[in-house]
Amino acid sequence: MKEIDQINLPEDLKYSEEHEWVSTDEDNMRIGISDFAQDQLGDIVFVELPEIGARFGKGDEFATLESVKAVSEVYMPVGGEVLQVNPELEDAPELVNADPYGQGWLIEIKPDEPSQADDLLDKNAYLAMIKGD
């Protein structure tokens, strides 16, 4: 497992306490899990994603990630409608491990209330949280 100072946390993303990230620079938001989360889970072998068009509130479970011997739920950092799901993950779930912020993104949503993202953590606050974990 990585040491905390090896964890990659891009500056331009927002993070949730449940270890999801959100990109907030466009109207539609992309969601994935943090480098810290993928490292904790270990080799991801299967990703179950929602259907396009599904709606979830903030904090709802929208996906599950499976490693060989564990299952983890992923929760909506911001509520909204699912516009896209990452089609690559069906055949290559390992992308979540290899590139959690790039090719390993999970879903793209149209947020119901973009301001919900304001309550999320920035890089430093998130880092402080995982150090305290």
Partner: protein, 444 residues
Amino acid sequence: MRYLPHTQGDLQEMLQAVRAQSLEDLFSSVPDACRREQDLRLPGPLSEWELDTHLKQLAETTGPGQGRASFLGAGSYDHYIPATIQALASRSEFYTAYTPYQPEISQGTLQAVFEYQSLCSRLLGLEVSNASMYDGATALTEALFMALRIAKKKKTVAVSKAIHPHYRQVIRTYFEPMGFTVLELDYTAEGQTDTATLQANEDLAAVALQSPNFFGCIEDLSSWAERLHANKALLITAFSEPLAYGLFKSPGSLGADIACGEGQSLGISQSFGGPGLGLFTTRKDYMRNMPGRLVGQTRDRDGKTGYVLTLATREQHIRREKATSNICSNQGLCATIAGMYLASLGGTGLRDLAVLNRDKAEYLKQQLREAGCQIPFSATTFNEFVVRFPAAKQDIPERLLARGIIPGLHLGPYYPELEDHYLLNATETKSKDDLDALVKEVAA
């Protein structure tokens, strides 16, 4: 006692090592209120010889006896079991092992089960098979729950009345607390499930049929599949006699989404109804919704092919109350036996054996018809069929029993409308003489 190896000396040394005075001291954490008030009141210990004598007495008072013919089928079938099966299944490396949690020293069990999965998948015409369930009844129950998981919001399933009555009783037990609706589909005058009894139903997740069904009749699976798929419902096909698929088109090739049932016919002793073997196969799309264990192929650190338990995240030890089932074992040894049996027969042998089974039953059916019996159902059958003995001869079953012939299963207790009907089974183990003897008694 030969199973308890500790000598008095061993006991003393070991008690000393754990700083206890006596064996009783080891149980100081068991409060008095939880203890027995008396010593065990049990017979024995019996010597090996005494036990042998006692069990032989019990065995002698079970079964129809030497030289008597039984035409009982109804979910448990008398097939010849090759000597190789008993020899190989008695290898204690197979039967004294447990679940292959440590794959490096369990490759025998793992490869045997992987082969079993492959054989089931080929036999039933579906892409994936699990490592087995308890029996046909519980496999079918699990299939219905699986269909409801796949359908997500739907809450209704329909089950044919021509499915084994015991299987339907098990379904009832499991479904009662769960709040789902189970519809029952009637059967036609031809002995098949009646399509007319199924109304259009948006809430329907799946229909379960048995083929050959309890009356031995082959169901028209492809037209059911077409109809159900048009309504986004699944077709579950059960069976109690898998040898039929040595001859008939496989359920998968006819559109079944889940094919499951009893595998006792595949080299497993009848053993008063258990252990049996629950076969369970489905489409690859539904793999992650399957209950039960799965063995998968992989590589070791040297790159060599090997086998492991896989997709365990579906199971109870990881997903706990959200698991696809509470099942935590499989019928490992029975699955291994089924693999040995199918490997012994091969595709050629299975086909020949299945044809012979049907030919025996067809011969018997024809002879009984000529002897004045009614064969009420006209649908195609495999090695089992329903007979109504001539009305004027109500005493036939009793007469047969008195002659040491068990005339199949009386259907009255299961289907009141079939009060004077019997379900007869004839496999390869019945000689023409056996069949003729039955017919002769009926005609007398």
